[in-house]
């Protein structure tokens, strides 16, 4: 007995839809593809000829920050930087801390990306490791003979992946802040940490004497 043509057609349609749906989900849940997209978007803004030059730097800076904010979860980064001390804070304190931490990172790192505006480098994504809802996406920034390894720690939320730490040449950014924050909290308390964060953010960039803390 031949199966009904209409039913066969419907089956085919459903199968195609299912495969298509699977395909898009697989794309959305791939941490490497997600990270690659963000890096490409950032580089596009940085090397955009329409925005070239010092005059447009503020605009480029804003747009880079927007791209980064889509992929990076600053709440998780801030929580991770405080580690166990995070739980001692009230919801309002946590919220304020996240805002300060985000501002700090923006100040410190977006300006560093300026050197990548010349497009004289290559970013290669070489490896990805996934375990459950955690992933590590590793990349190499290649500039002439120099290779710098940059790995992104990511976690899954819903269908998408978000960055909560950057590891350059084996040195984790969040861990580095954690060691300093832990030390300040232990010695002078949390309020002092907030005060120091506010002071750091208020500091003018590219100051000639960056050495106040030591003197």
């Amino acid at each position: 007995m031949r199966p009904n043509k209409k039913i066969q057609g419907l089956q085919f349609f459903l199968l195609a839809l299912f495969l298509l749906w699977q395909g898009t989900v697989a794309w959305a849940t791939d941490p490497q593809a997600a990270m690659q997209e963000t890096v490409e978007n950032v580089l596009e803004v940085l090397t955009d000829p329409a925005l070239a030059g010092e005059a447009h730097w503020q605009e480029r800076r804003e747009r880079v920050s927007q791209e980064v904010a889509k992929r990076f979860n600053f709440t998780k980064m801030a929580q991770s930087a405080l580690a166990r001390a995070w739980h001692d804070r009230s919801a309002a304190e946590q919220e304020k801390f996240v805002t300060l931490f985000k501002e700090l990172l923006k100040d410190a790192y977006v300006d560093r990306l300026k050197t990548y505006s010349d497009g004289n480098y290559k970013v290669v994504f070489d490896k990805v490791l996934v375990r459950g809802t955690r992933a590590v996406v590793s990349s190499l920034v290649i500039q002439q003979e120099q290779k710098i390894s940059a790995a992104y720690k990511m976690y899954q939320e819903g269908d998408d992946w978000f960055v909560y730490d950057v590891v350059v040449e084996g040195v984790s950014l969040v861990s580095n802040y954690r060691s300093q924050f832990g030390n300040i909290i232990q010695k002078d308390g949390y309020e002092e940490l907030v005060r120091r964060l506010e002071k750091k953010i208020a500091e003018p960039r590219n100051s000639e004497n960056p050495n106040e803390e030591l003197s």
Binding site: K76, Q79, S80, A81, L82, A83, R84, A108, R112, D126, K127, L129, R131, G132, R134, A135, V136, S138, E145, K147, S149, A151, K153, Y164, D165, V167, E169, G170, V171, S172, V174, S175, N176, R178, S179, Q180, F181, G182, N183, I184, R196, K200, S207, P210, N211, E213, L214
Partner: protein, 337 residues
């Protein structure tokens, strides 16, 4: 620095060395141990991993080095870079200093059982000394794909499980640990300059000064941004030193683990993981990793945390540990010691 060869010479050398280098070229190893990065749990279980009882003294020396940089090296560097304006030239000087220390890397690679990498270092030294004008250029990397790598006795000692001991910040030399200081002392005897210039202390001192100044002009910006962005530059530098050194050792251990893992694959059937005595505490990172792997193979989400006891590294594997029979525990204790 651009180093060119006449085509026939280049071709001849290429033919001569291509077989050798293809044998020696190491598999492209990840510079970072990604597996270890997966174990992050937003810092919840992170412990104080630094043993710094000499902090007050170390801070004095850190400040000394900081002053040395800002008051001496940086101003002198302005003159130095005015003379040697080309960054490639300063890069070449740095490469030559790296090249002459090849014996240190060859020996330490051998000590860690990295036969291939040690061969690569020999080939790099030969190629760069002959074709790279005494190591000023790096044709080994450019022409032959033999990547530059670092190896020292401190890493070797760490690879064999020696803990870092106390943190030390040396004047002139900067961040170190008791173990890495011991390593530096050992590596001193593998530095050819200490034999060649044994009767010329002035030349030696001059070369050391050149090396320090040259490094300062090349890496100064990195140090300045560290100081600028840090809340406490001393703590930040200390943390970076620990993270960087630990990663170098972990990468070697992970590669070793992978080697052993691939050899043992398909052999024994999966057995339940024995519960290690001491709640999964290890002194040996390799053993800790194997245990973690075993638990994960069983479907348990095991993670590895680094901790320490009086400056000696300890690794704790936590996860869904299964009860083991006495026989299995005995077997494990046998393997451990």
């Amino acid at each position: 620095m651009e180093i060119s060869f006449t085509p026939p010479l280049r071709q001849g050398l290429w033919l001569l060395l291509v077989a050798l280098t293809s044998l020696l070229a190491p598999p492209s190893a990840a510079a970072v141990d990604l597996e270890a990065l997966l174990d992050d749990d937003f810092g919840e279980n992170e412990e104080q991993l630094v043993f710094d009882p000499l902090e007050p003294v170390n801070r004095v020396f850190f400040r000394f080095n900081d002053r040395l940089y800002f008051w001496v090296l940086k101003p002198v560097g302005k003159v130095y870079t005015a003379v040697l304006a080309d960054e490639d030239v300063r890069g070449a000087i740095s490469a030559a200093f790296h090249n002459i220390l090849a014996p240190v890397r060859v020996v330490n690679n051998l000590l860690q059982g990295k036969i291939r990498q040690s061969g690569t270092e020999v080939a790099r030294f030969a190629i760069n000394t002959v074709l790279g004008a005494g190591g000023l250029g790096d044709p080994a990397a450019v022409e032959f794909g033999l990547a530059k790598a670092d190896e020292d006795l401190g890493q070797t000692l760490g690879f064999y499980g020696l803990g870092e001991g106390i943190y030390l910040c040396w004047p002139f030399l900067g961040p170190s640990t008791a173990r890495d200081t011991l390593g530096m002392a050992g590596d001193y005897f593998l530095n050819p300059l200490n034999y060649i210039l044994v009767n010329e202390p002035q030349t030696q001192a001059g070369l050391t000064a050149l090396k320090v100044e040259n490094t300062a002009t090349l890496k100064g910006k990195e140090y300045e941004s560290l100081v600028r962005e840090a809340f406490d530059p001393y703590i930040s530098a200390r943390d970076i030193y620990y993270q960087y050194r630990r990663n170098l050792i972990t990468v070697t251990v992970a590669a070793e683990h992978q080697d052993k893992g691939s050899k043992g694959e398909g052999g024994r059937p999966q057995e339940p993981c024995p519960e290690f005595y001491g709640k999964g505490l290890f002194h040996n990172l390799l053993k800790a990793r194997q245990y973690q792997q075993c638990l994960n193979n069983m479907g348990a989400k095991a993670s590895l945390h680094r901790t320490q006891n009086m400056g000696r590294a300890l690794y704790r594997v936590t996860g869904d540990t299964r009860p083991a029979s006495e026989e299995q525990v005995a077997m494990v204790m046998d393997v451990e010691e």
